[in-house]
Symmetry: C2
Subunit: 466 residues, 2 copies
Amino acid sequence: MDTPTSVVTVGTDLLAGAVEAQAVPVTRVDWRPPMPGTEDDLVAVATDPRRADANARALAAMLAVQATLVDVAPASEVLGLERGQFLHAGPPIEWDRAAGPLRGALMGGAALEGLVDDPQDAVALFESGTSVSLEPCHHRDAVGPMAGVVTPSMWMWVLEDAATGRRTACTLNEGLGKVLRYGAYSPDVLTRLRWMGDVLGPLLQAAVRSAEQVDVTGILTQMLQMGDEAHNRNRAGTLMLLRDLAPAMVGAGEPDDVAEALRFVGGNDHFFLNLAMPACKLALDAARGIDASTMVVAMARNGTDFGIQVAGTGDEWFTGPAQLADGLYLGEYGPDDANPDIGDSAITETAGLGGFAMATAPAIVRFVGGSVPDALATTRRMHEITLGENPRWSVPVLEFQGTPTGIDVARVCRTGILPQINTGMAGKLAGVGQVGAGLVTPPAEIFPAALARLADLARTRTGAPA
Amino acid sequence: MDTPTSVVTVGTDLLAGAVEAQAVPVTRVDWRPPMPGTEDDLVAVATDPRRADANARALAAMLAVQATLVDVAPASEVLGLERGQFLHAGPPIEWDRAAGPLRGALMGGAALEGLVDDPQDAVALFESGTSVSLEPCHHRDAVGPMAGVVTPSMWMWVLEDAATGRRTACTLNEGLGKVLRYGAYSPDVLTRLRWMGDVLGPLLQAAVRSAEQVDVTGILTQMLQMGDEAHNRNRAGTLMLLRDLAPAMVGAGEPDDVAEALRFVGGNDHFFLNLAMPACKLALDAARGIDASTMVVAMARNGTDFGIQVAGTGDEWFTGPAQLADGLYLGEYGPDDANPDIGDSAITETAGLGGFAMATAPAIVRFVGGSVPDALATTRRMHEITLGENPRWSVPVLEFQGTPTGIDVARVCRTGILPQINTGMAGKLAGVGQVGAGLVTPPAEIFPAALARLADLARTRTGAPA
């Protein structure tokens, strides 16, 4: 027998080592067992003849989107949000199951809207549920970081994909620490929100309406060359936004107000997060409703449940319990103070940024914990569960490889590798605010649940027994 | 005989391989022969009992400097520069040996100052040398990128080390392409310089004098976490400067002028270079004149000569021919169009930035050429010829290792490893402007020349035969 020119081994190293000892070149392929109980569904999905094309179309649709900042206006105008209507992050939830930080943000939002004078009085309002309603941001073409609460008077960024006219929206970022989206509702939190509505919003509106439109997707491209991963590092993005808007802000208001607005934006390294998120949603929304596609189009958390939506399963949510992040805590806070994972911001990971792009932002480990090699390894690992790479968002240190993009439910189930999210941590009690930042994954079981639904749809189409 | 627990091998791999084959752990130490003819001088310097302490003091003095932006004003005020006095980059040179881009910048500078109406008429003026004089920036506490020409009416940044009151200065950056510092002197170049003097300079002065002082050393710290190496990438630095100055610029002038100034700064990714350079000089000047120190305190080029100054040899220049860079060319330009290396900007490498910090700026290879692994390897290699690391300027992807800092003439001679500089390339003909950017090293012979002088001084001190 001739010596084979090469050998490919799968899984453990035993065979590879033995073959290499005989001076035969070996290509090792990592292999892990699929998630338990998913074998039949994996076969059904893998043999669906429409899957490959559907996934290619989903990925291409997503990558074709160009997000441009086109307006800034109150949620009442942008989304038609009415008095008593509250949007929140994550999949649908009601007050009785809402976590502390979501409750805190709703209480603060009720006071901001004048529904109550004291945020504490809002508890009875939400318990009664008679004049208020809760709805996910995602159901209204919007996203919200952390609690993600949006009320009619809050000003929002409006992004548009010029080719399709599709739009998404997100509120303006308040900064870190004691802020509404982390569940704080003290008087200074409400004072800041009122200034944002009275001064900052109108100034930004005047600037955006008069300036050349800001290319948000392009800023994201640049950020990834500048150490931002666009979820928990948005420093360069914030600075580029300031660069693009500052000239038009001059003259759009009283000099003192303009200077204060410039200081506020420049003093908040996370300000651009609220543009990165709707840009990611805008891209992913282009892939919604593509039958047979196994690509995840949303990952979102309300502080109680973690939910995903998938291109091939319409607007159905697959949910499981939100997990506690592992990370670094502010001041005296510790793991006992943290609420489980919350926020729509995992839309960044869904689009190939955040945890998926950590290799380009090694300094992020000083904020969310972990080591630099971990950050590099995380991006490499995410390529195992994604459909492709984003050529526009490349990672210089990985020799300009595109970020891993388009989470594939089938690959997650087949490898058992869960999407890696980096996130801020809210205090679990209403009113506390931020307690830290860290790393977290979705609950594993939501992927087999989504896979089962995709498999059912595939079997239905092919006439195979369900 | 007992088996040794470990073996250290130096130089080629022959012994290491043989020992490893016997299952003995081997530590490989890279070794190269010293530069030819330096053996005796290396011994004299190595055995100088004052050297280690002198180098420790030189490095510590440099690392202790904090550069703060304290003023913006014309060179006539900052440096007392008078009509007909011209500063230039690099070691001293006269018109007859000056390279094309330096001549072009001097001609444009003469027209800017009204010494001639047409830049071409300045040739006769400089050839006669009667009413004009040339002097290095470095001799006047200043630095200048590329040609580095400074005339009395040009506005300059002024940086100060608060602990010592020491100051350095640098002109305002004009942008890339057809600009004076690359040797261009067309009417649009002079128009831009006049606007910078009439509008931009006064606005920046008002902002700097009214704002909280800008911490330039601190911005450099942040830049290195954001993909800038502060020589040919200054994107994040420029944006942070804009963030720090913009609020104070609002109201310091007519809104249209302020907006134009914000656009000019925001549109020039290299704007911060002219703050990075004097910050580096301010740090290195603290190490000047420390007897017996073998640390380089300046590397500078005038387009004809490359010169270094060393802590232990006072203000003496050791010079050799400036080299041609290897890199990427703009448009139709090629190697035949490029002038040899020019500018004081190698002060960034002297301080541990630029080529020395390329690992933190892998995207730089798209501007200066080379590969991402080369960029990482360059920073690692520079640790071989430096005295220490800068804890303030750390490289996230190298697990936050400080940049290699304090070039040691002795280590350069002992290893033959030359400092790596990345640089813009000027056209070799006066008037052309920028033709590319690339990588370059100093001429090797200037290090043995400096070493010989250090060795002479050491022998004189110890009474050994010279």
